[in-house]
Subunit: 204 residues, 4 copies
Amino acid sequence: MKALFLNCTLKGDETRSHTEGLIRDMIPHLDRLGVDSEIVRVVDYKVAFGVTEDEGAGDEWPVIFEKVKAAEIVVIGTPLWLGEKSSVATQVIERLYGGSGLKNEKGQAIYYNKVGGVVVTGNEDGAKHACASILYGLSHIGFTVPPNVDTYWVGEAGPGASYLDAGRDNAFTKSHAKTMAYNLYHFAKMLKKTPIPAEGNTMR
Amino acid sequence: MKALFLNCTLKGDETRSHTEGLIRDMIPHLDRLGVDSEIVRVVDYKVAFGVTEDEGAGDEWPVIFEKVKAAEIVVIGTPLWLGEKSSVATQVIERLYGGSGLKNEKGQAIYYNKVGGVVVTGNEDGAKHACASILYGLSHIGFTVPPNVDTYWVGEAGPGASYLDAGRDNAFTKSHAKTMAYNLYHFAKMLKKTPIPAEGNTMR
Amino acid sequence: MKALFLNCTLKGDETRSHTEGLIRDMIPHLDRLGVDSEIVRVVDYKVAFGVTEDEGAGDEWPVIFEKVKAAEIVVIGTPLWLGEKSSVATQVIERLYGGSGLKNEKGQAIYYNKVGGVVVTGNEDGAKHACASILYGLSHIGFTVPPNVDTYWVGEAGPGASYLDAGRDNAFTKSHAKTMAYNLYHFAKMLKKTPIPAEGNTMR
Amino acid sequence: MKALFLNCTLKGDETRSHTEGLIRDMIPHLDRLGVDSEIVRVVDYKVAFGVTEDEGAGDEWPVIFEKVKAAEIVVIGTPLWLGEKSSVATQVIERLYGGSGLKNEKGQAIYYNKVGGVVVTGNEDGAKHACASILYGLSHIGFTVPPNVDTYWVGEAGPGASYLDAGRDNAFTKSHAKTMAYNLYHFAKMLKKTPIPAEGNTMR
């Protein structure tokens, strides 16, 4: 079973990402459950703006999209700026949406039987709003959203330290990370064994 | 199998509700699948403001809450005002949240193995935002959100006719209502047969 | 000059409100500027659900609405539940919207030349989302939104202490409270001296 | 007086943009008021991801940022995808935020005395949510938000035609475009004559 984490930090791979930090603190739970995890730092790819699955010359989204197709679990990780998910996370949702017209062999959207989740870090405020937006986007295009698959850390109001420096001991965040890992796994396993029947949900 | 629709219109039961109209257009799909549907117009109950499962003297939320506990499927229906879900819908989320500390026999939140969805009508704009907020609230407290369980109708920008007068023939809304009914049913059935394992997700 | 604070806590007046605490920490700034401040705890009034300025028998919104009409500055204060403004705050926006068709003597919406702001407290996360929703609602019906009129306090992710117990020394929140008070005052004074010209913005 | 429209379409300049269409339908009102309008299609610049005012080598944001500094009126225009503002609009807010620590000669944020607004087009649903997010972002970093500076067009729920093909005759949108143009002008003029006093709002 494969879990793909799309880290939507604004920072390139030479830079420490707090969102990646929280993702890395979740992965050991998935390891124990036998799930293979991969992290993609989206900003390291040349992803074109657009709402198709392939925007043509120079667009590297198709490389990421192949990983999405191969994964049973897809998690969007995002930092917060002005209380909102990052522009990169917004772009990832746009590009995933661009593939929402593709069908699986039963005629359902290709995201059917995939499970989605979200990880958010910020130095303060905005996590639940980002989670709501991202989980809704995933659900609307065909992902299943198990209970409690939103894990986040934010600090007290105002400027301050970020996750790796101040949040790793937060009991709430740690507990959510664990529950999220288990519920992603439980549902991915359930949907592998019992895929969503192709009744009432196939595409025209 | 029971589906409970909490209609969060601002209007009392003597008044036509467009949100109820869309709910009623979805119910025949559930009927065919053998699901018993009940609609509760929340504003007809004296629901106290608060965030517990019972606010005491005069609070009629406990009557509704018993119906929530008995249902496998819970759908929030809401109109839109200024692009937002209604105050009654906000209150329902607050009260459902008030029960989120209660456990089932396995130690999970009592909303585990229940399936949630959302129905929205407005004369214009705001549906997706209301859906995101409501589905996130449900997911965060333990409901499962299957794919495509948001059904809405809104008209063109600006004042205009509402669902029962202008929206019943909308192919997009009709198709979503059908898919939503089926996916609520598929997941409720799946979770009845294979409840979410109590591993990694029980309450402290 | 009058400032009206509509405290949208879910708790009745016998109970300590953290949102009122933050409001009370802002008022000394307004006192110094010669502004008279009044706090209304909305839940202590029997406000009917609806979207008119007067829902008839038993509706106590008209009492509050008279205070709104008499104030140059209107601030919505709200707690956070599940990352959202309270149901009472949602109801207040609905009722203010219900008066948005009324005109001043120049034919503009009656909220023209009034200045709006927002105060939010929560034990964690959701403030900016609540601020965005409330300020947009106010702006859309005719209020002016000066820069930096959103003051909030939230704690670190997860359960924890609330404003009066943990937030009163937060430098960011204190600084925002001061700036907000001054900017509300500056704009109310400016609009008193130079009302918005009735060109291009009168109601049909 | 200068108005800068930042068109955050995902499409390059060879392609028809419905958002630009609505912007162009607003500009004649500003022309009549003697305001010079400029439209920048942000995607035609190589804007780096980040939250500073200059991300260094190859970043073309500084070109746009100079235009922002020179304008009294700044309007963000955005399409909608999955009910959200575009990734480009999110990026523009991030980059504007990156300049929020810069001061004017009085020690206020450089966005003080600038007036902000928003234009949204989509084939359906999401406009008010995008407006709320964008206007809040602008207000939080120092822009003034006059009443009624949100103009949008969206069609009925579901796939369908876009603004230039179906929305140009919408009376609500036309009326909002006019009011928005006038209120942006009225406030820009007022703030030119009476800048916001540097009391209580200077940066530390």
